[in-house]
């Protein structure tokens, strides 16, 4: 398989472990534990059992009929939004907490942007009775109050990060700094397929259940395991990695990743790393990232806090460079359009992140016989305020247009 990781955590020329010396022993121990347990029968049984009974897997593969009629094709939604805690993030936190327990760690830390990964981490820490600290940018804490409260109710300490731009990348920086200072007792649960080796491989491993289920469910519903295309949104890229994984070697399956363009790829307010990034090193991994000519990391922007990251997992950088996956970008407005369409046609309120994947349907054309799988990575409960604001702006704009142009 040309898309798997090598011994040193490289996907092609991307990946590796660019971390300070103090963490080298930690990531070596983590890698050894991951290698030891990933195929261990007792570990896998516990993981699968929790995915089934606690998370509620397998998540349904739902044929979205009205959406299919609208786009004149056959669209299947992989309902990760129906998982416990409302997104795919929990798959990874369950896997990593089981590993942390086996490694004898007594404290778990995590970074979070929108709060979804923070909630998923706080949840599994409560479940396993492990102390939990979530680092979150001070700006994000203000923007995502309900998730802060959820984490606190679950017993996690939410540590406000005031360094840098006070958002996701700074939360990750602060989590790394804490880990540097407490390497022995602490495990850092990274929430995406980013970071130093073995995180990209490990998080992909815990998320690959998404495409494993997709294949079986497609076979049952369509007679073939292989769709024409798989579509997923990508920030760091964990749901996309999970959704693509078991299709990587099926060259006939188009893999389509959708980045957040923010206010437009050329607007200077974007999070589209593939579209605007260059090769470099961020959070311990050689990958594509948004940076200045001097190598300073650029602050990204997207309406979706979960896609608001200036890098991308090394697997995705490799899929892009090798041409295996196609990367599109959707603006805030395009994502909102797609979200409202899903609400109206299917009665599902998607997460703003997943709305970016839905927006790809407007940029692509499929045949009436094609089967398309779209990873609906999360639900939109956390985004109600953003949807309310957008809906109000749209009805105001519509009223204005009606007054001035329709008479």
């Amino acid at each position: 398989m040309q898309y798997t990781v090598d011994e040193y955590g490289y996907y092609g020329r991307f990946g590796g472990a660019f971390v300070p010396e103090i963490l080298q022993a930690n990531i070596a121990a983590l890698k050894a534990a991951f290698r030891r347990y990933k195929d261990d029968p007792a570990f896998c049984a516990e993981f699968e059992q929790l995915l089934k009974d606690y998370v509620g897997r397998p998540s349904p593969l739902y044929r979205a009929q009205r959406l299919s009629d609208f786009y004149k094709t056959n669209i299947y939604l992989k309902r990760e939004d129906l998982n416990h805690t409302g997104a795919h993030k929990i798959n990874n936190t369950i896997g990593q907490i089981l590993l942390a327990k086996r490694m004898g760690k007594t404290h778990v830390i995590a970074e979070t942007g929108a709060g979804q990964h923070g909630v998923a981490t706080a949840t599994v820490c409560a479940l396993m009775d492990i102390r939990c600290t979530v680092f979150m940018g001070a700006t994000d804490i203000e923007r995502q109050r309900p998730n802060v409260e959820r984490m606190q109710l679950l017993g996690a300490a939410v540590e406000a990060v005031h360094s840098g731009s006070k958002t996701l990348k700074d939360a990750a920086n602060e989590a790394i700094r804490y880990w540097i200072a407490h390497p022995a007792d602490t495990h850092y649960i990274i929430g995406s397929v980013i970071g130093p080796d073995p995180y990209p491989e490990m998080v992909t491993h815990f998320q690959q259940v998404i495409s494993r289920e997709m294949r079986a469910q497609l076979k049952e519903k369509t007679g073939s395991e292989l769709p024409a295309a798989v579509i997923a949104c990508v920030g760091g890229g964990s749901n996309a990695a999970g959704a693509f994984y078991h299709f990587l070697d099926d060259a006939d399956v188009a893999l389509i990743a959708v980045e957040a363009a923010g206010r437009g790829i050329s607007s200077g307010e974007t999070a589209a790393t593939i579209a605007t990034g260059t090769e470099g090193i961020i959070h311990g991994s050689r990958t594509l990232l948004m940076q200045t000519a001097d190598g300073q990391i650029v602050e990204p922007y997207s309406i979706s806090a979960g896609l608001d990251y200036p890098g991308i997992g090394p697997l995705h950088a490799h899929l892009h460079i090798s041409g295996r996956a196609r990367f599109l970008a959707a603006t805030d407005g395009q994502a909102l359009d797609a979200a409202f369409r899903l609400m109206q046609l299917e009665g599902i309120i998607p997460a703003l992140e997943s709305a970016h994947a839905l927006a790809a349907l407007d940029q692509l054309s499929f045949g009436s016989q094609d089967h398309i799988v779209l990873c609906l990575s999360g639900r939109g409960d956390k985004d109600l305020a953003a949807y309310h604001t957008a809906a109000a702006e749209r009805s105001a704009a519509a009223a204005f247009a009606y007054q001035h142009f329709s008479l």
């Binding site: 300070p20 103090i22 080298q24 360094s163 700074d170 200072a181 022995a184 959070h283 001097d294 300073q296």
Partner: protein, 257 residues
């Protein structure tokens, strides 16, 4: 001979190395700070290249980096500021910076320009030894610069030997798990760690850093090493310094003697 080697071959007293962030507090203070530290009697200097995301640094150096970047500091500007510095001082100069800005500048060009500017050594804390040996060692060594690696309480014995093989000039002994700007615990555990490293048969001189902010810390770690690095304490002083930068720096260095 590399000025770092010359220093460790000739100086019997503990080596005082001072770290500062280029472009802080003012964009063009670099030269004045170097010459003042030399005049005040510091033995070696580490010039920090500011980075937007300095994960190994505590709040003091983070803030100085953010201010330096706002001041417009960059690697290219630093090399221009250093032009002709070797006409004025022979103090060993080490550049310390994160790997991403260095790679964007280009490792080959970076080493050539650093050497031309009179730099003697490099510290890149997030460039691991394996990557260095595979991709960059030949470039760095051909330029005549010394690459300095860090050892920490978490470094296992086999890695310690590898770091000793790859390091040139000295090895940076990190006093404790943590970012820069902490405090020196002086615990039994820390003492055992210093003694363990001291007994490891390393061929390169050891210089301790992280958490050394006063003469007492300095003297304590120098029982085990050839010297020590003061960073955050110096940056803090610069942040509070009055207009007499040279006088303030002289006073700061004197306090360690």
């Amino acid at each position: 001979m590399n000025r770092i080697d010359h220093l460790f071959q000739n100086r019997e007293q503990p080596v005082l190395s001072v770290y500062f962030t280029a472009g802080y507090p003012g964009r063009d203070d670099t030269r004045e700070i170097i010459l003042s530290l030399d005049a005040a009697g510091a033995d070696m200097l580490e010039i920090g290249i500011p980075f937007s995301d300095p994960v190994a640094d505590g709040p003091v150096i983070q803030d100085s980096s953010a201010i330096a970047l706002r001041n417009g500091m960059s690697i290219g500007l630093l090399f221009r500021q250093l032009q002709g510095i070797r006409d004025e001082t022979a103090i060993p100069l080490v550049l310390m910076g994160y790997v991403n800005p260095v790679l964007q500048y280009g490792m080959e060009r970076f080493c050539a320009d650093a050497k031309a500017a009179g730099i003697d050594g490099l510290i890149i804390p997030d460039l691991p030894v394996r990557e260095y040996a595979l991709h960059y060692k030949d470039i760095v060594e051909a330029s005549g610069l010394h690459m300095i690696f860090l050892v920490t309480p978490a470094t296992p014995a086999d890695r310690l030997q590898e770091i000793d093989r790859l390091s040139r000039g000295f090895i940076y002994l990190v006093t404790a798990a943590g970012t820069t700007g902490g405090a020196l615990s002086g615990s039994d555990e820390q003492q055992a760690y210093f003694e363990h490293i001291g007994r490891s048969g390393l061929t390169q001189p050891l210089v301790a850093g992280f958490g050394i902010s006063n003469k007492q810390d300095f003297n304590r770690v120098c029982q085990y090493t050839r010297g020590a690095i003061v960073g955050s304490a110096f940056i803090r002083m610069l942040g509070a310094a009055n207009t007499d930068l040279r006088g303030n720096i002289a006073e700061f260095v004197q306090a360690f003697r």
